[in-house]
């Protein structure tokens, strides 16, 4: 069974078309990676799956655990088992990290254990969430919250960006253990995180659609060797561009 399925999804933000013709299937228990150059719409895809209202689904549907969630509020999708680690989460003054964890986990000891897992000192619970956090701290705090949420489908938006080499290992191993019993969609621009995470399948998002899918290692190697320029030459993309160019004439 697919935990997540996107059928011909098109998305607009403020009236501007961002993504179109998105078809994606993630079978239960699999970890999928989404590659793509900056601005290709990777984060937009995640935000759409999560249900951020400014990402408007203009056609197609999103199925989560077989249920149509296309127009469901964020927190209800979360209740069904979705969770997200944001790339640039907002700082919220006065809202303590510990306060959020208290909401997610009733057992105080469990919070302590989770804090230890991400190597946060207990004082961190008193910090305003994301306020003055370093790049690495943001990533760890996001993973920590996801661990506390215990959802069975996890979306991670560039968990490796802005993380130094030391912390990359910590974050990478954390995510790998986090994903061992979950399904996931992982965005990575540079692919660093794949040194630590076992992924089942990769997709390349380019020119607002998914151009190809395949073995994560093969695709990453190709991207690292050739850059995304290689993807631009992909027949699917050139055809799409052709179609976009001539469409006004119809």
């Amino acid at each position: 069974m697919n935990i997540l399925e996107l059928q011909n999804v098109a998305i607009e933000v403020s009236g501007k078309k961002i993504l179109e013709d998105i078809n994606l299937e993630i079978p239960e228990g699999e970890v999928h990676v989404l590659f793509g150059p900056n601005g290709s719409g990777k984060s937009s895809l995640l935000m759409t799956v999560l249900g951020i209202p400014s990402y408007k689904v203009t056609s197609g549907s999103i199925l989560f655990k077989g249920k149509d969630v296309t127009h469901m509020p964020i927190n209800e999708r979360v209740k069904l088992g979705m969770s997200v680690a944001f790339q640039n989460p907002p700082a919220i003054r006065g809202v303590k990290l510990g306060g959020i964890l208290d909401y997610l986990v009733t057992d105080k000891q469990e919070i302590g254990a989770l804090m230890e897992k991400v190597k946060f000192p207990p004082e961190f619970l008193e910090r305003d969430v994301n306020l003055g956090f370093s790049g690495g701290e943001v990533k760890k705090s996001e993973v920590l919250q996801i661990l506390a949420q215990k959802g069975d489908f996890v979306m991670l938006d560039e968990p490796d960006s802005g993380v130094d080499v030391e912390n990359l290992k910590v974050v990478g191993n954390l995510i790998n253990s986090l994903l061992s019993e979950k399904s996931a969609l992982l965005i990575t621009h540079q692919g660093h995180i794949l040194r630590y995470v076992n992924a089942d399948k990769a997709h390349v998002l380019i020119k607002s659609t998914i151009a190809c899918s395949g073995e994560p290692v093969n695709i990453l190697t190709q991207i690292l060797n050739e850059g995304y320029g290689w993807c631009m030459k992909c027949p699917k993309i050139t055809n799409l561009q052709q179609k976009q160019k001539i469409s006004p004439l119809h």
Binding site: N75, S83, I92, L104
Partner: protein, 407 residues
């Protein structure tokens, strides 16, 4: 005193520079007098309201208490273990006891500033005298309550607070009304004197009624190395509230910090701010305001920093959260530098709740309403007051039971 009285009489019709003008003659002066009693013996409904503004009967958590009900002083005690460290009495008694009190009376607040200061002189209804003696560290907070239980009453108090040299103390003042009171006027004159090396933290909590008018008039004088922290909380509807306390950092290295959290509800008209005047070398000032306006509330959040000496520094920060299209927050920061070495700055941000923040919390499973409440609660985070942990937790609980429940 007669000269003060003369000046006051001349100013009896003088409107205040800010805030809606009030006909001060429409209020009653008639009220019954209350017998002295320990606060634990006050009527249950009075105690409950007092508790909401930080006034507690427990002996263990306060070093002394002043309680004024309408025009009667019912408590003026210092716990025995703090005797010789602090003095608590009515200003009328203090006036009889200390001849020198005249040197503090109307010395930082002008008696003829407006019709309200005038009223406090011509129709003076007690108020507290609190003095922390030289070099004494009073580890538990002192508390003072100004309570109004008679509808349409005016209560015009004059408080004198003296932190003698080297002393350290906390003072909580709670001002509130009985649930049966809808209208009335509270005029509160507070003159603070923070002497050399003294530290005084003053936390004032207001909890008024929808038809009630409030006009505090306060000022502080801070001597060498003195530190004055003035915290203010108001989170119940009020008809009109206008105050603009001033702190004069007169001594070398003297410091002041004004922090306020205001929650304007219903038809409240709230015009508050703080002025800091830096008069010496090494003086520091800080004004932090968090304002929330909902329903039809109008809030003016002012701040005025005046640098009169080189090597002085002050910062003003105002954040406003607008929860209704019918409400309004007007942030008015002003800086006046009169010495080239004075470093003054401000930042102000007023707006609605960030959607991004709400969505972030919804992605953790909170409903939209829960997320909004959490953000508003965070916005009113009392940790900006810099209080000792116990007191901070106490005040946080108070905010929770009164303000948060309104969300």
């Amino acid at each position: 005193m007669s000269k003060d009285h003369e000046s006051a009489t001349k100013a009896k019709d003088k409107p205040a520079a800010l805030g809606p003008d009030i006909n001060v003659n429409k209020f009653t002066r008639e009220t019954k007098s209350w017998e002295s009693c320990p606060i634990s013996q006050l009527p249950e409904d009075v105690l409950r309201r007092a508790y909401e503004v930080g006034i507690v009967p427990e002996k263990e958590s306060r070093s002394g208490t002043f309680f004024q009900l309408d025009h009667s002083v019912t408590s003026r005690v210092v716990q025995s273990m703090f005797e010789g460290k602090a003095e608590v009495m009515s200003t009328a008694d203090a006036m009889k006891k200390y001849n020198w009190l005249k040197d503090y009376w109307w010395k930082v607040v002008k008696v003829d500033a407006d019709k309200y200061t005038s009223l406090a002189e011509t129709k003076w209804d007690q108020g507290y005298f609190i003095r922390i003696l030289e070099d004494q560290k009073v580890m538990l907070p002192l508390q003072a309550c100004l309570f109004i239980s008679t509808n349409n009453l005016d209560q015009n108090v004059h408080n004198i607070i003296i932190a003698e040299a080297g002393s350290e103390s906390q003072l909580i003042t709670g001002c509130t009304t009985h649930p049966n009171v809808n209208s009335g006027l509270h005029v509160g004159i507070s003159e603070f004197f923070v002497k050399e090396d003294a530290k005084l933290t003053f936390t004032m909590i207001h909890n008024w009624a929808e038809g009630f008018d409030v006009r505090p008039r306060s000022a502080a004088m801070i001597e060498d190395n003195g530190v004055f922290v003035s915290n203010y909380l108001c989170f119940k509807p009020v008809k009109s509230l206008q105050m603009y306390p001033t702190a004069y950092c007169k001594g070398v290295n003297s410091r002041v910090s004004f922090n306020s959290i205001l929650y304007g509800m219903k038809d409240s008209y709230i015009d508050t701010g703080a002025k800091v005047v830096l008069q010496n070398e090494g003086t520091r000032g800080q004004v932090v305001a968090r304002t929330i306006a909902t329903d039809n509330a109008q809030i003016y959040a002012r701040g005025f920093l005046q640098g009169e000496h080189d090597a002085s520094k002050a910062h003003l920060e105002c954040r406003g959260l607008l929860l209704s299209d019918n409400a309004q927050i007007y942030a008015i920061p002003e800086l006046l530098a009169k010495a080239k070495g004075s470093d003054l700055s401000h930042e102000a941000a007023v707006g609605k709740i960030s959607e991004e923040q709400v969505q972030y919390l919804m992605a953790r499973g909170f409903t939209e309403d829960e997320a909004t409440a959490l953000i508003v609660r965070g916005f009113m985070d009392v940790s900006i007051f810099g209080l000792p942990k116990n007191l901070e937790n106490e005040i946080r609980r108070m905010v929770d039971i009164t303000a948060i429940k309104a969300l």
